[in-house]
């Protein structure tokens, strides 16, 4: 594929940028995301996930079944903070990024 082809349209990440991450050892969507912001725009990876998995598959010969799903966090689609907080007494009970951290023997697992 042409190297300039856009893969993540929200963050304008090109094929070449995804390729570079793979050359540096990236093997999952989240690897690509952390290094390029691929999938971090308004659509929240709803369009580029499959494209990135296919590029990893083509470059590494890893079967698609060994390229894991990206992490899907709350909120599942973009929402205004105002809405998230309105009348919400149980707000902090919504699974948040902090809830993902599990402490074991005083240390992050």
């Amino acid at each position: 594929m042409d190297k300039t082809t856009i893969i993540c349209r929200c963050e304008e990440i090109s094929y070449e940028e995804v390729e570079e991450v793979i050359e540096h050892g990236g093997r999952t969507f989240d690897d690509v995301k952390r290094l390029t912001r691929c999938g971090m725009g308004p659509c929240q990876a709803k369009i580029c996930t499959g494209l990135v998995a296919n590029i990893i598959h083509e470059h590494t010969a890893l079967p698609l079944s060994e390229i894991p799903l990206q992490r899907m966090r709350m909120p599942l689609s973009p929402i205004k903070l105002e809405i998230l907080a309105t009348n919400s007494t149980a707000f902090s009970a919504v699974k948040s990024v902090l809830d993902e951290v599990e402490i074991e023997d005083g240390k992050v697992r």
Partner: protein, 359 residues
Amino acid sequence: METDVLIIGGGPAGLAAAIETATRGLDVTIVDESSSLGGQLCQQTQLIRPLPSVYQPMRGFELAKVLTEQINDFTVGTLLNHRVIGLYADGSVGLSDEEKVFPVKAKKIVVATGAAEQAVAFPKWTLPGIITIGAAQTLVNRDFVMPGKEAVIVGSSDFALDVASQLLEVGVEVKGIVEKNPAAAAREKEKTDALIGRGIPFYFNSFIKEARGNGQVEEIDIEVNGEILTVSADVVCIDGGRSPILDSFYQLGCSFGYQKELGGWIPQYNRQFKTDRENVFLAGNAAGISQQGALLLTGMIAGISICEDLQTIRSGEAEEIRDALWEELKLSEYKDVWEGRTKHIEKFSSPVLKDQFIS
């Protein structure tokens, strides 16, 4: 808010699950982010068949109406224009009505979130005028808007060819159908023949080399057997297949397995269409991409299993109905899909991906 059964997604599978549970006395709530029930059926003017034996073959939007009318007779709460944003620590589901977020506590949850269309990337595919095949159908059938005058279609699934015919009917010139494989992907050969009969060119072993245009797509280069063919077009419809929408399952902590025939990653589930999370069921394309009739059956199976769990139906009777529905499911979907589903269910106790949330 509390309910017996919360159904996430008001498409064919969600509605089928709602009918089974509501008719057996359960308090059912359907949540859907759009403003009407029926999901993708609402803009489908093609004939849907085969359908489960209780329905006559009919067009998609007619089926949406028939399904919706059936739940109207019962106490089914419908939360339209609401979306799921996540899960509370106590297991209740967080919904938003775009003004506030509130929790819904349900005894059982059915995730019927359907599937999303996949993209096909090529240089300048982000130009306006390049849309998915489903978007083209929505524009024509729901919004009554012509997506363009000259269309090129990338991909040749049954659905893509249905939409190609629908575009022709409203006066869009279909300049060609581009397929990367040596033959059309459509399983119903008469669809391909009908389009060939109308003089629509099929380009096999071909792909889009590049799109060009100033502010919107104006022409595309198709590579056909190593040669470049330039075609003018103001709309390009991409059919990249579909994959299940998994966000809700992921939040709920379900395990996943990979099954190519069912659209890739899908949640693990058993014969009851129950995931490995207590009280979480699933139905429809979210449980693997299949045909409309099969999607209804999966919703019916999930509904019956919930009734069994909540004891509004005797266990033996539930088992009998479920067996019959499974038999019908086998006849309603393509053989490879059915085999993929059978294989997937066998792997229920040994999922590929589990405990995703904490990693």
